[in-house]
Symmetry: C2
Subunit: 411 residues, 2 copies
Amino acid sequence: MTGFREDGAAALEWAASYLERVRELPVLAQVEPGEIRRALPDSPPEVGESFSAVLRDLDEVLLPGITHWQHPGFFAYFATTGSEPGILAEFLAATLNVAQILWRASPAATELELVTMDWLAQLLGLPREWHGHIEDTASTSTLAALAAARQAFPGRVVLCSEHAHSSVEKAARLLGLAVQKVPADSEFRMRTDDLRDLEGACALVATVGTTSSTAVDPVAELAEICEREHVWLHVDAAYAGSAMVCPEFRWAWEGIERADSVVVNPHKWLLTPVDCSALWTRRPDDLHTAMTLVPEYLRSSDEDALNLSEYGPALGRRFRSLKLWAVLRCYGRVGLQERIREAVRLAEVFEGWVRNEPGWELVAPRPFSVVCFRREGSDEANADLLERVNASGEAFLSHTALDGRYVLRLA
Amino acid sequence: MTGFREDGAAALEWAASYLERVRELPVLAQVEPGEIRRALPDSPPEVGESFSAVLRDLDEVLLPGITHWQHPGFFAYFATTGSEPGILAEFLAATLNVAQILWRASPAATELELVTMDWLAQLLGLPREWHGHIEDTASTSTLAALAAARQAFPGRVVLCSEHAHSSVEKAARLLGLAVQKVPADSEFRMRTDDLRDLEGACALVATVGTTSSTAVDPVAELAEICEREHVWLHVDAAYAGSAMVCPEFRWAWEGIERADSVVVNPHKWLLTPVDCSALWTRRPDDLHTAMTLVPEYLRSSDEDALNLSEYGPALGRRFRSLKLWAVLRCYGRVGLQERIREAVRLAEVFEGWVRNEPGWELVAPRPFSVVCFRREGSDEANADLLERVNASGEAFLSHTALDGRYVLRLA
């Protein structure tokens, strides 16, 4: 190393220049499988190289193989948004390099996580008395929530919409639970007509903003059913939860205060770099019972302190709250609301274009910032169109299936 | 924000100055539970603040509550080591902010991960044909490995040493498997005398470098038993695996090529900031079968490409290989070996001091860089001593229990 200040200045210049020029790069990497791998050396170096060599190869070898999530033409999946304060805070977290295995391993990291989750609960209109902590992704948050559900209720089945995210099925599979898919209505919301008897179920997962179409399951109604049937209600609001910083979107999770757990990913739509998944629960004792395990080498005299590793699958926890804190500080409630509203406005504009363009159709309601549309014609023609758009490098869209048809998705 | 370059320069200066002055700060945070929380505002800001306000509060409010893992007096748990190239690469990864949900979401991230894991396999003397990928922590790696074991073999029991890490029990609990603890010998290694009949077991976990004492279970012998009994052998080398960059330590996992899976955490002893846990398996198909789930919205035309999310619990994967790559590049084989050997040399020096000091005793063999020792006298006296050392802020040690006695641990 030349020295941390010099190498750091070069890395900072690389990052600043990247953020400036990313819009000029092809958004979807235009490489074939194996191409990047073949461009990299077969073996590690024997002796150390300079950090400038790393930066050079990042530019020359890796960059052509990067799909640019920070590109303004990235409309695939969910447009994951990293912001400048979030990026810099991740750098500071790596500098501190604390591993929150228990409170005393970094008191400030644990307590900042609790405070930041309390702030976020306030911003999203969630009950402040809930327990909140951060996991890496919604897959892990859902795994933790369903483990708590299995702990709290006797059934071995998880119910969810046919449009629920694949992470529900993955978590259930890991936990040894069966999944039962509930059909959706014409607007892709979970139907409740047949949800009378939940015999054998320990959990029901409602989605607020499904991945395919951002449809919204009826939370209040499902909460009532779950309460009556003694089943854990987990709400997957990984994408749309961020929109709840704006009161005008809170219709979408009316009744949320009766859920048992909720996941919202600030790394999706709240300006925080991956990974940062916020999990709250109204039943922290069940989550704790499902997850706690304190061996002798981790016992400490800080008996009043909360060890967040006792609320999730991982023991070593990165200092993830620092970036969320930086984002909430640097944008404030008003700044976050502005950005959510602007994203929704742009989606409305695009939706209008599709509506008014002959030969195109909208195929799902658009409650938030994702537009589902297609060109009249065959699935093949639409798939071909998608591949041509993506091959241009100017925009990156993804697709989904709705009512058995191939649908384009602009996020 | 003032601007990314100015804010970034301030963050870089904060980081550089932190790394210079960290040795002057109390290594263990000298705060009471709740103290940091009370120093933080009760509510998030309404309007955005400057990034300089974040840096100021990091210094004034959070720093007194940080336990400094980068401090030269940090001897607790395992001395997790972040290095300068690793820190800067994490910053670059946050700038790129790719989420590796599948190959095309970032081809270079997927392929760099495969290359880096191949390099690391070469450095550690592992078979290159194994499948390797990165998880956040060993807890997740072990969860994935045991899910594959449950997939591959019919039993519902996981065997491990009484000194195995708590993550084995946590993973088994999540997976609905039972854990059977095998007694250890006088040097804290798993005893094999009673391991004749593994009826009902799907996996056995061997530990190379247990957390309590860094004892080494007999891998070759266990591999033979597991092969004969058709049981998955998972080797937890989360800490000691990094030492295998030096051939003179490879006695510790002789027979490793017959294991079914191995976990090594470069974020423990290989200069990589948290989180970076390397998982290899000889049976990628079983891991894939246990984990794969590709919904329509994630299907793509890149049929030859490997989606690493199909090999682990999470879908959204951070660009973790970038920091491991930077570390391997900037240190090279020789540089990594030097640092491992120096850590072991320092532990040997300390071990010598304890051996020659009347009133002190060594309580376990020291194969690597952890020394287990105690002062003659009661457990209470040793616990009290530990608290006094830690209260000084000059050094931070942790403890464990060996043979039912309270033992001090210097890592």
